[in-house]
Amino acid sequence: MPFRITFEKRIEEIPRWMPAATSLASVVLAFLISGIVLKLVGGDPIRVARFFYTATFGSWAAFSDTIVKATPLIMVGLACAIAFKMKMWNIGTEGQFYLGAFFASLVVLIPIVPPETPRPIVILLMALMGMVGGAIWGFFPGYLKAKFNVNEIITTLMLNYVAILWNNFWIFNKWSDAGFQMTPTFARSAWLPRLTDYAREYGAFIAEGSALANFLVRIGLERISGMTLHLGVAFGLVAAVVVWWIFECSRWGYEIKLIGDNREAARYAGINIVRNMVLVMMASGALAGLAGMAEISGVVHRLQERISPGYGFTGIIVAWLAKLNPFAIVLVSILFGALIVAGREIQPSGLAQMLQGIVLFLVISSDVFLRYRIRLARTAAEVA
């Protein structure tokens, strides 16, 4: 080889645009590689790409679907971010999501409040219960890690399976709707409001031919009815701001970052690591549980066997691709929400999952560009 590749450790500050650029490049490259693999198994990448676009961003209705799928990802991604910031590897957001959904549905299924309770109270109670459920499921691995140094990766992962089985037991044994793997549909008061509901309520007030109506027609928004976008996305956005505030403005966020960066230094600084391990896992679980609540209250409107196509795992990739930045998580979630929407229809069915794997691999590989300058140099032989 006439050239030799050399790596030089970066000493200077990394340019601010670089992390974002490497993430973006990773996504583009991952799409290209997936296209090649698709070609290999006899698919038509161009057709799939065109379908991907129309099914996800092609129209307001499609975009609404994409946001609906992005909603749980935002919250789960934030859940992962807060744990990963402290280098607690919470791989159990999937289970925390399921347990959050379970606890939230208890409000309706036991029922904790009578069905004629006003909607805001029911929703608030469900959101709280969802967070409690997720926090409980996060507490165990956090406690075991803090007290007995039990590897949290394995415990959180094992609890995923346990949570799904736990839900199944109650769905099948207690609340099954005529033997199906789902509970009866919740009363309307337990539904998060959706755009289509607003359309029904306020649509009557917009006069035919008025300026507002014309505007809505011009941007293609005249048919809001049928759009499934629900209030859960607001939960996600608020959570993103809260997590950002925790990271950037609070003392607790500083402690989390310090423990993550250098555990020994944190110990010498007098930070209570054991307590923070448990707290962070509970906060992480609570966010994932809230995502579970939003999904059953906003989308499926009942507790059922399969409520997550792997949101918990996708959230890990989302968090990492966004470099644990809360606002970047929102953006990345939209992309991965699109991937889930399109992935339901694209054959072969594993394509979306494979794409996620490739993205994550490329992102962590591209970190090398952040740590090193890579230079091409003429080899000694060539110079001589």
Partner: protein, 321 residues
């Protein structure tokens, strides 16, 4: 349901965990944590199944499974050994990648019947009462291979020179490097070995223990249980084999508990309401957590356990890569 059938079937199921866990022990002893076992197993299961189906030759199938697991693990090797990425995240992405690849290439394999790994009795040994029917009757070749494999792996790691180099690379890579051992090459090699064994473990499922392709359900988290087992076994192949068989028997016994109407003289609650089976299915996962707690405590007490350089990338001098 008899004890002999449960133990016999448990050995078969346990062989899956045995291969996967010992593979992971090799990688971790060299200092590389590979959390991608589940993905490598699934890819191996798919590769073995489809190759056996396409060629009609089960041995080629096993070979393909081993190769698939090994090749996939090299991706982890490059990213963690050369690019020094975080081993936890890289291992996770390996699981996603392996699962995704397996699902894409495994499309349409469900319900097919390729040739399987042959099963046979061992003459003479099979006639010993109790032990014979449990250990030496009707097992597939892979189970018999497992009997030899665990002690051999133990001997290799603890009693041979290359095994000592392996441990040195995982305990104190700087010292090993000074000794003239090529740390990078050995780490690549053992990550590859781990991948090959995970692939074989996958094929053990799809071509022998529960033949078939059930997409992601094929492995159903056994790769993760294997990783937990490594900690429980304190990085010792013999203990890993024992743990694997124990878990195998347990998984199997759980299935059998749902059959009979009477159990130990009581009415079997599972027979009356099969929904209680969901709790039984939790047992292997909960037990993995318990095993981890025991393993972590024992390791702490005996000051024994994880290779010192586990999860730490080795950077030679200041030149970096």
């Amino acid at each position: 349901m008899s004890l002999i059938t449960i133990l016999n079937a448990g050995l078969a199921t346990g062989t899956i965990l045995l291969f996967a866990a010992i593979g992971e022990i090799f990688a971790e002893r060299a200092g590389v944590l590979n959390l991608g076992v589940e993905g490598m197993m699934l890819l191996g299961a798919m590769a073995g199944f489809s190759t056996s189906l396409a060629t009609g030759n089960v041995w080629l199938g096993l070979l393909a499974a081993i190769a698939a697991g090994g090749l996939l693990s090299l991706a982890h090797g490059v990213v963690t050994i050369h690019l020094q990425a975080d081993q936890v995240v890289s291992g996770l992405s390996l699981t996603f990648l392996g699962t995704g690849l397996a699902l894409v290439f495994g499309e349409g394999l469900t319900g097919k019947n390729p040739p399987l790994v042959p099963k046979f009795d061992i003459p003479l040994l099979g006639d010993i009462p109790f032990i014979g029917p449990v250990f030496f009757e009707g097992h597939s070749l892979l189970v018999y291979v497992g009997y030899f494999f665990a002690p051999l792996a133990w001997f290799y790691i603890f009693r041979t020179r290359p095994g000592m180099h392996l441990r040195a690379v995982g305990e104190k890579p700087e010292a090993a490097d000074t000794m003239g051992i090529n740390v990078y090459r050995l780490r690549y090699f053992y990550v590859f070995v781990g991948g090959c064994l995970a692939g074989l473990a996958g094929a053990t499922i799809s071509l022998s223990v529960s033949p078939g392709w059930y997409s992601a359900q094929t492995t159903s988290g056994q790769g993760w249980i294997a990783i937990g087992l490594v900690i429980f076994a304190q990085w010792n192949p013999l203990q890993a084999a024992l743990g694997g068989y124990l878990f195998g028997a347990l998984r199997r016994g759980i299935l059998d508990l749902q059959g009979p109407p009477m159990l130990f003289g009581f009415r079997n609650p599972l027979f009356i309401n099969s929904n209680y089976g969901f709790f039984l299915q939790m047992v292997p996962y909960l037990l993995t957590i318990v095993a981890l707690m025991i393993g972590s405590r024992a390791a702490a007490r005996k000051r024994l356990g994880a290779p010192a350089a586990l999860g730490v990338p080795y950077i030679r001098g200041e030149r970096g890569l």
